[in-house]
């Protein structure tokens, strides 16, 4: 934006916001590198009298590693399911002429409006009936299903940007839909695909509601549920709790550092849910 003068008002406002965002993050990070006693006597705002990494080590030896691996398994599976079913669906929505595909697209648009909160009771019923209660797969399936509407919308948008001439050129060569999909559609919707992967991964990694109602054992616990239980059971150990928060956010943070573009696009997909 071509502006000559610095915008003082905007600068001031942005500083206030920086303070609001920064304060809890400051407390969060400092609390993790001080002892419990230090935190309660010195308060959250002062610098630690003595720095330590013990909180992180304690978390890791108290089963946080297991939670971490469970969440990783859930995330990878959700992304795999999404990648398996959404690209063909989006291709069909953009290119097929049938009425049925139109109806499917409308179903997914309506699906955007279904809040996960609204279906937790029947989901509990279905997953229990299927014998999947307290199994990771029981968390994976509904989590993936609730990623589909946004992912479909994002990918359909990306595929609509592919020019019709390219399809026609491939048709001249007598290419089958499968070949068009592999050689034209997939390569040209890479941007959309990476947004979809990031969106699904974030939903799965940060998901809380489905694990909360569909699992109960330590062996199936995911990190968000681990945080919640830590808070209810050992809430007084603030440094330990906040270290777990930091550990649970590390993977997302690394994605943010190295693939910020994809992350931002994945987040804004349709604004996240």
């Amino acid at each position: 934006m071509p502006r000559q003068r610095p915008n003082v008002l905007a600068g001031l406002g942005s500083l206030i916001w920086l303070l609001l965002v920064g304060l809890p993050l400051y407390v969060l990070l400092l609390a993790t590198v001080r002892t419990r006693a230090d935190y309660s006597t010195e308060g959250p705002l002062s610098l630690p009298a003595q720095w330590t990494l013990q909180n992180y080590l304690t978390d890791l030896s108290n089963g946080f590693g297991q939670d971490f691996l469970n969440t990783l398994a859930v995330t990878a599976s959700v992304v795999a399911i999404v990648l398996l079913v959404v690209p063909p669906l989006a291709y069909a929505i953009v290119r097929a002429r049938g009425r049925a595909t139109g109806w499917v697209f409308r179903m997914f648009l309506l699906g955007l409006a279904i809040p996960a909160q609204a279906v937790i009771v029947p989901m509990f019923y279905l997953i229990s009936k299927a014998g999947l209660y307290d199994h990771l797969i029981g968390v994976i399936l509904p989590t993936a299903a609730f990623c589909l509407p946004v992912c479909t919308l994002v990918l359909t948008g990306a595929m609509r940007d592919i020019s019709p001439e390219l399809y026609e050129a491939m048709a001249m060569d007598g290419a089958s839909p499968a070949r068009v999909f592999r050689q034209l559609v997939l390569p040209l919707s890479k941007g959309g695909l990476s947004s979809v992967v990031v969106f699904a991964a974030l939903q799965a990694w940060n998901g809380f509601l489905f694990p909360l109602i569909l699992t109960q054992s330590d062996s199936t616990k995911v990190v968000t549920l681990g945080l919640y239980e830590f808070q209810t059971e050992h809430g007084v150990d603030v440094p330990g709790l906040l270290s777990a928060v930091v550990l649970s956010t590390l993977p997302v943070f690394f994605v943010y550092l190295f693939a910020r573009r994809a992350l931002v696009q994945g987040l804004t997909g349709v604004g996240g849910k």
């Binding site: 969060l28 398996l84 309506l110 609730f146 839909p177 998901g207 990190v223 809430g235």
Partner: protein, 298 residues
């Protein structure tokens, strides 16, 4: 795979099979539960024995339930607070971050950090930060008084609304940033030639041009507000008393704590109805179903 129907200039098109796996999967794990919630709302179910039909019992109980009425009021209040507080801040931040200055890029990177935290993490962090004995209020007594912010209805609602702002503003700012960057520069150049300053440009060009973005963002805020759950569960447990018991939390409590799954389903159905009405209205207004590009409507 079936042979694709040919049409037009010999262009091969994918058949319905391409859409089928996703359609079946989504039907099983989203549409069926949605229909089932309606059925379950007419049953008595304790979560252990089989559900059995009890007619309109859950619904009549719901209408007479003062907590339910209160929870709807609280939910609406939090939703309105969310839209009213988050919209202006998001617009300002988003438009500010849309500028390409170096310092803005650096600061934006920090601003968007709350987006990386799960709702659970956000709530856990704020609970620790606001703890009356060991949190920030104990350090800044001149600002917080006795520091027990979550001890009163007003305080607890204010905290929930504030944490909502902290958590969701960056997301909406990102959406507005996208919207602001899509505004044609020509408009600003023309305005600058006419001698319009930054403030006038903001009100006469930026704001009107962000209209569609504002619709998208507000809808997300409304649906998000109506389904507020994590922050309530972790920060207030619906308290003090039932003062911050929002509908989604009340549903969870009823079903999974009081084992009245039928009653919980009835509340869920109310939630679905409201959310669906709103998003149907949105699909209408924004023309999402006729959308033809990646960034349209954002």
């Amino acid at each position: 795979m079936t042979a694709a129907p040919k049409s037009g200039a010999g262009v091969t098109r994918p058949g319905f099979v391409w859409a089928a796996p996703a359609a079946v999967f989504f039907t099983l794990f989203a549409i069926v539960p949605l229909l089932l919630v309606a059925v379950l709302s007419f049953t008595h179910w304790d979560g252990i024995t089989e559900p059995r039909f009890n007619g309109l019992d859950n619904w009549t109980a719901l209408i007479d339930d003062p907590v339910m009425i209160q929870s709807i009021g609280t939910t609406l209040l939090l939703t309105v607070l969310g839209v009213v507080l988050q919209t202006p801040i998001s617009i300002l931040l988003g438009v500010w971050a849309a500028g390409h200055q170096r310092n803005r890029a650096v600061l934006s990177a920090i601003y968007f950090v709350p987006l990386l935290l799960s709702a659970t993490a956000v709530s856990v962090v704020w609970r620790a930060v606001l703890d009356p004995n060991f949190g920030v209020p104990s350090q800044l007594t001149w600002l917080f008084g006795d520091g027990n912010l979550l001890g009163s209805r007003g305080g607890a609602i204010a905290v929930l609304a504030f944490v909502g702002v902290w958590q969701f503003t960056p997301l909406h700012a990102l959406i507005y940033q996208g919207g602001a960057r899509a505004i044609p520069q020509v408009l600003y150049q023309a305005a600058a030639i006419d001698g319009a300053g930054t403030v006038r440009q903001f009100f006469h060009i930026t704001l009107p041009q962000l209209r569609n973005t504002a619709i998208t963002s507000s809808v997300l805020m409304v649906v998000g507000g109506l389904t507020t759950f994590d922050t309530v569960l972790i920060l207030t447990q619906g308290g003090p008393g039932t003062d911050t018991t929002v509908s989604a939390f009340y549903m969870y409590q009823k079903a999974f704590k009081s084992f009245d799954f039928g009653g919980g389903s009835a509340i869920a159905l109310v939630l679905v109805a409201v959310a669906t009405l709103i998003s149907l209205a949105v699909v209408r207004f924004t023309g999402y179903d006729r959308m033809h590009g990646t960034t349209e409507g954002l």
